[in-house]
């Protein structure tokens, strides 16, 4: 029977499981950890650029239609050294921050109220998803009606884009709070506002963070459209530059701006990712999957 014995270290694990477990082997040194977080990204980007280059080499499409990576990166280099870029980026980021902050405030408030007050839920719960599907341009007339050609009109569009998404995230989070935790919270004396503060919100925090992430994407996309609403004097913006690049058929510039948008997206995702990992570490669900 001794031959029949199986030691744990090479047990009957196969397929994805093996991959998952294999990739979990701890990398202890700091440099090593940084490296293991970085190289897959670098590799992914390198592969993407390589495929792009190969397609260009194949001559499939003319360069004015599909510009080669080198041209795009040299355009990007020029672009990011222009003052207009930095002004535009600053304007857009400021608008994104203000608009998103407003959307968060409204989305959280609406989400918390709708999730917990039955009558509100029956009245406007299903409206939230419906509003979320309304394309930004449909709001433009109303935005102008209410706010003329001011930045508020842009914020209005951003908020209407992002707040429903955030509210939906909050409602989902609240719906799945384990009843036991709510009961425990109530029992130890958390009522009304303190129940929200000490139990409901922390319990739903993971879902709220996920909702904020989705909301950010909505906010940013609405902003890219909304920035055309009011092309204010003296204020260039990424959204306007994106549209102009497209209108002037500047393929390289368009791709440069796409890269900038991706980089902004990556930075924001890193922030959300850090928040999420902190929560997951606390909750003890961090290393279960391939995180």
């Amino acid at each position: 029977m001794a031959n029949d014995v199986l030691t744990r270290d090479d047990s009957t694990i196969s397929g994805l499981d093996a991959l998952e477990i294999a990739s979990k082997q701890k990398v202890t040194s700091r440099v090593g950890r940084l490296w293991s977080a970085t190289w897959p990204k670098v590799a992914a980007i390198a592969i993407a650029i390589f495929i792009w280059q190969v397609v260009v080499w194949s001559g499939w499409k003319p360069p004015y239609s599909l510009p080669p990576p080198a041209d795009v990166f040299s355009d990007l280099g020029r672009y990011v050294t222009e003052g207009a870029f930095w002004h535009g980026l600053a304007t857009t980021l400021r608008r994104a921050a203000v608009g998103f902050a407003a959307a968060v405030a409204i989305g959280l408030a609406v989400g918390l109220a709708v999730a917990r007050v039955r009558i509100l839920r029956a009245a406007i719960g299903s409206m939230i998803t419906a509003l979320q599907t309304m394309p930004s341009i449909a709001w433009f007339p109303l935005a102008i009606l209410l706010f003329q050609l001011s930045e508020q009109a842009i914020f209005f569009v951003v908020v209407l884009g992002a707040a429903p998404s955030i509210a939906n995230g909050v409602i989902y989070g609240l719906d799945y709070i384990p009843p036991l935790l709510l009961r425990a919270g109530r029992n130890i004396g958390a009522r009304g506002a303190s129940l929200y503060r000490y139990v409901i919100v922390p319990a739903a925090l993971p879902a709220i963070i996920a909702g904020l992430k989705q909301g950010w994407a909505f906010a940013w996309r609405s902003l890219m459209a909304g920035e055309l609403l009011v092309v204010i004097a003296t204020k260039t913006s990424i959204g306007a530059q994106l549209t102009y690049a497209r209108e002037l058929s500047e393929a390289e510039r368009l791709m440069s701006i796409m890269i900038v948008i991706l980089v902004v997206g990556l930075v924001v995702d890193a922030a959300f990712g850090a928040a999420d990992r902190a929560v997951r570490r606390r909750w003890g669900v961090l290393d279960q999957a391939g995180a």
């Binding site: 935790l181 029992n187 130890i188 004396g189 958390a190 303190s194 139990v199 922390p202 909750w283 003890g284």
Partner: protein, 248 residues
Amino acid sequence: MTSVALTGITKVYGRGPSAVLALDGVSLNVAPGEFVCLVGASGCGKSTLLSLVAGLDRPSGGSIAVEGGTTPGLMFQEPALFPWLTVRANVELPLKLAGVPRAERKARVAELLGTVHLGEFGDRQPHELSGGMRQRAALARTLALDTPVLLMDEPFGALDAMTRDILHDELERIWSERRLTVVFVTHNVREAARLSDRIVLLSSRPGRVISETRVDIPRPRRIDSSDVAAIAAKVTEELRREVGRHGQ
């Protein structure tokens, strides 16, 4: 003079053909400062009863009256710790919610963690604790509540005998110091005899009070004393008859 008065409590879960009659006309009065143990077969409605008394659910019939203006503190059958808080913060939260000042809170939390032998584990998250340690943390959190009535649902079920004996002493001390009214659910009949003034036996599905046994053994008691064993044997016999009747 009653601290908790239950009159003809019934509780039905669900509706229609799949409805479960969990409690059927339970009446029970607990005097202020009394320590009552509830025993009964698994699934007979003990947890249901506690959650009704704690006001977390509404009875389908009957009425409940509880002493004072506060809701009773309830230690749930599961630890029910908040996963986003450290053990210390979990225990501290009831104090915070009651408005206890920070300095006093710190001292009380340290004392409570000491009482349940978790002094070193205050900064851990609940998921880093063993099953029994979680139960003790939940106990500490419940003891942090300043309510005259305490409801406890198998608080020592996941503990080894030694730790449990120590916590019996602690609980008894706190009970008499604070003059608490305690309703305590347990499957361990000796534990019931060791701790309580009265043991209430529930039948199963539907839950009804079928017998009450007064425990007149003078305190301090020892769980392995013959007095305790005698009472336990009597209750066990009743319980056996009741469970046997239900074929379970």
